[in-house]
């Protein structure tokens, strides 16, 4: 059995109130159209008695919200909608009596298209009973599928399942404080309490979050997580670390936390899974490391697609499943870079460096190989044009270069 609540010309607020009212009775609610809500009442008779009693309870519930609505109960959703739109007050259609009870209602309760309504009007068909008496085959030939569907409803023979309405899930906690908070420490307790509530609701709906929005008055921070999380302690620590790195700078009197829901992470553990940090722990460790050395100094290096020396960027570190299959290309000795490069004084003889001095290192150059000329980005302000040399000084191997553009020598690194 299905119940329908109908309010003609309902506003948005009134419709929302109808949905709330319906969800108080049943988890299976259909948001049919503006001012019309259908829900499943099967099994409720054990709680509220007869179907008339259920309809009366629903009407009371609507009335308690300051609204007046028609309530109808029928064996199928479409008959309930027709009855609610056609009859005032409370209506209960017993199974098998739908066609008989609905026959005097206007065809407009079916909600036909204007063209179809005009055709029916020209035929002199104005009630459901008259429409139901027409032969189905001829209806199909003249009015098409829409006509067949409405003809079926006019006979009270609808059989469609309802489309359940799911409320948009928002996981928000707001707290108005009596006085302004100026330091981060008291926020720990407030955020912990708010996130406890949010995570409990996420768990109850089998959801997690990968994005947390924090509003502290006018200051807004967004915490993006690489994986879905619903651990309140972890989220509190990450938010506090983020706030320590980016302090609000003003007193806080209103705290709002919203977690954007997503599907929780499902992990299949195995005996032969390679050693790697737990994602939640890793995220916390990375946040702490960023607080120690700065955000730009933590991550995985990515070499840029250019020939510019020492061209790389730091990207966010995350344990990836894919494996790099790129094998070692050389077995050369590694370079330790001087960042920034060190300016050097070099003496030349026969176009080769013979003596050098830079940053505490000075002496004759025992061996020198070069030069290797590289240049690039000549159309940009940060162009480079240089001649590289590998030199041996005091039992150590260095890479130096002559910057053609700047007319200076620099030590770039040491081979080690």
């Amino acid at each position: 059995m299905f119940a329908c609540i109908y309010i003609p010309n309902a506003s948005g607020d009134a419709h929302a109130a109808l949905l709330n009212c319906a969800t108080a009775f049943s988890p299976r609610v259909e948001n049919t159209s503006a001012g019309t809500v259908v829900f499943d009442v099967e099994g409720l008779e054990r709680l509220f008695g007869s179907y008339s009693g259920i309809a009366a309870k629903v009407a009371d519930e609507v009335h308690a919200r300051g609204l007046e609505a028609n309530v109808a109960i029928a064996s199928n959703a479409d008959a309930a909608v027709c009855a609610a739109r056609g009859f005032g007050g409370i209506t209960v259609l017993n199974s098998g009596t739908e066609a008989k009870r609905l026959r005097d209602l206007s065809v407009t309760v079916l909600g036909p298209s204007p063209e179809l309504l005009e055709t029916l009007d020209r035929w002199g068909i104005r009630t459901l009973g008259a429409f139901a008496k027409l032969p189905a085959v001829e209806i199909s030939e003249r009015l098409g599928q829409e006509g067949v569907q409405l003809h079926k409803l006019a006979r009270g023979a609808g059989s469609r399942p309802i489309i359940p309405y799911t409320e948009a899930e928002r996981f928000v906690e707001v707290m108005e404080l009596d006085y302004e908070i100026l330091t981060i420490e008291p926020l720990t307790f407030i955020l912990s309490r708010m996130l406890d509530g949010i995570c409990a609701r996420l768990r109850s709906r089998n959801r997690a979050t990968h994005e947390v929005h924090l509003s502290l008055g006018t200051v807004r921070r967004v915490l993006n997580l690489p994986l879905p999380v619903r651990n309140p302690k972890l989220l509190t620590k990450l938010l506090i670390l983020d706030l320590e790195a980016h302090p609000p700078g003003v007193g806080v009197q209103r705290v709002e936390v919203e977690a954007i829901p997503t599907k929780p992470r499902v992990v299949q553990n195995g005996l032969f899974v390679p050693l790697s940090p737990e994602p939640e722990k890793l995220e916390l460790t990375l946040a702490r490391l960023k607080a120690v050395v700065g955000e730009e100094n933590v991550g995985a290096a990515e070499i840029l697609d250019t020939h510019r020396p020492d061209a790389f960027e730091i990207k966010k570190f995350g344990v990836l499943n894919e494996r790099g299959l790129k094998p070692a290309t050389t077995s050369s000795v590694a370079l330790r870079r001087f960042r920034p490069v060190l300016e050097a004084t070099v003496q030349m003889r026969n176009s080769a460096p013979i003596w050098i001095a830079f940053h505490g290192v000075h002496g004759p150059i025992a061996t020198a190989r070069g030069p290797w000329h590289t240049s690039g980005d000549w159309w940009r302000p940060n162009m480079w044009d240089r001649e590289e040399w590998d030199i041996e000084v005091v039992d150590a191997l260095y890479r130096i270069y002559y910057d053609v553009h700047m007319d200076r020598w620099y030590a770039e690194g040491v081979y080690d």
């Binding site: 390679p274 050693l275 790697s276 940090p277 737990e278 722990k281 890793l282 916390l284 460790t285 990375l286 702490r288 490391l289 120690v292 050395v293 100094n297 933590v298 991550g299 995985a300 290096a301 990515e302 070499i303 020492d310 790389f312 730091i314 570190f317 344990v319 990836l320 494996r323 790099g324 790129k326 094998p327 070692a328 290309t329 050389t330 077995s331 050369s332 000795v333 590694a334 370079l335 330790r336 870079r337 001087f338 960042r339 061996t367 190989r369 070069g370 290797w372 590998d390 041996e392 039992d395 150590a396 191997l397 690194g413 040491v414 081979y415 080690d416």
Partner: protein, 224 residues
């Protein structure tokens, strides 16, 4: 200390009697004070350098390995080889770079998977110690390299021995291998393995236009 109650007629030597009294007195706090703590035998991880592996059997997991030596002795090459070798076991590694000297291009050419290497660029000794502490406490890294090479030796020597023992205790029962790089030995007895890198003979520089090869004839010596 309460005296131990011994069954009559049970002859004990003086030492056994003293031991029994001590065990009785410490009974509630320490269950077996004279029993050696069972040490977990962990595997060694290869360095990727055959001669070094033959010499040492690899780096011990759950222990500190110290590699030190002068400039151009091959310390950084050994470090990169250790990181590159982690690819074979699909491990995630971390590098605590004491003076921002790591060259990603050299590492990638040597076979290091940069997307599985967490690079932390430090500029102060305090940052290095704090970072290493956080990484070891967080766990899950197969190899953690702490590069102190370019930091002033006076600063590095000021690290208390207790810090090294704390690191050692942190990783003791984990599969993490902590590698400390330096120009002189500083870890002391907290290290499970100490390697001194020395340059021997002539340094040969070979370089062509398309590819750069710099070969250093290395000699590695196992101290402990």
């Amino acid at each position: 200390m309460q005296s131990a109650i011994l069954p009559q007629g049970f002859a004990l030597s003086r030492s056994r009697f003293a031991r029994a009294r001590l065990e009785s007195a410490l009974g509630e706090r320490i269950s077996s004070p004279f029993t050696d703590v069972e040490r977990r035998v962990l595997e060694n991880v290869p360095t990727g350098i055959a001669s070094l592996d033959a010499l040492t059997g690899g780096l011990p997991r759950g222990a500190i390995t110290e590699i030190f030596g002068p400039l151009s002795s091959g310390r950084t090459s050994a470090m990169i080889s250790i990181l590159a070798e982690a690819k074979a076991s699909d491990e995630v590694c971390a590098l605590v770079d004491g003076n921002d000297a790591f060259d990603p291009k050299s590492a990638a050419e040597a076979g290091v998977e940069l997307n599985r290497l967490l690079w932390v660029r430090c500029h102060k000794l305090e940052q290095v110690l704090k970072t290493t502490d956080l990484l070891l406490q967080g766990g899950g890294f197969g190899r953690v390299v702490m590069d102190l090479t370019d930091l002033p030796l006076s600063h590095v020597r000021s690290i208390p021995l207790a810090s090294w023992f704390r690191f050692q205790r942190t990783i003791e029962r984990t599969p993490t291998a902590l590698v400390v790089m330096n120009s002189q030995s500083i870890v002391g007895s907290a290290a499970g393995l100490v390697l001194q890198m020395k340059t021997r003979g002539r340094i040969e520089v070979v370089r062509c236009r398309t590819q750069r090869h710099v070969r250093v004839h290395l000699h590695s010596e196992c101290i402990r």
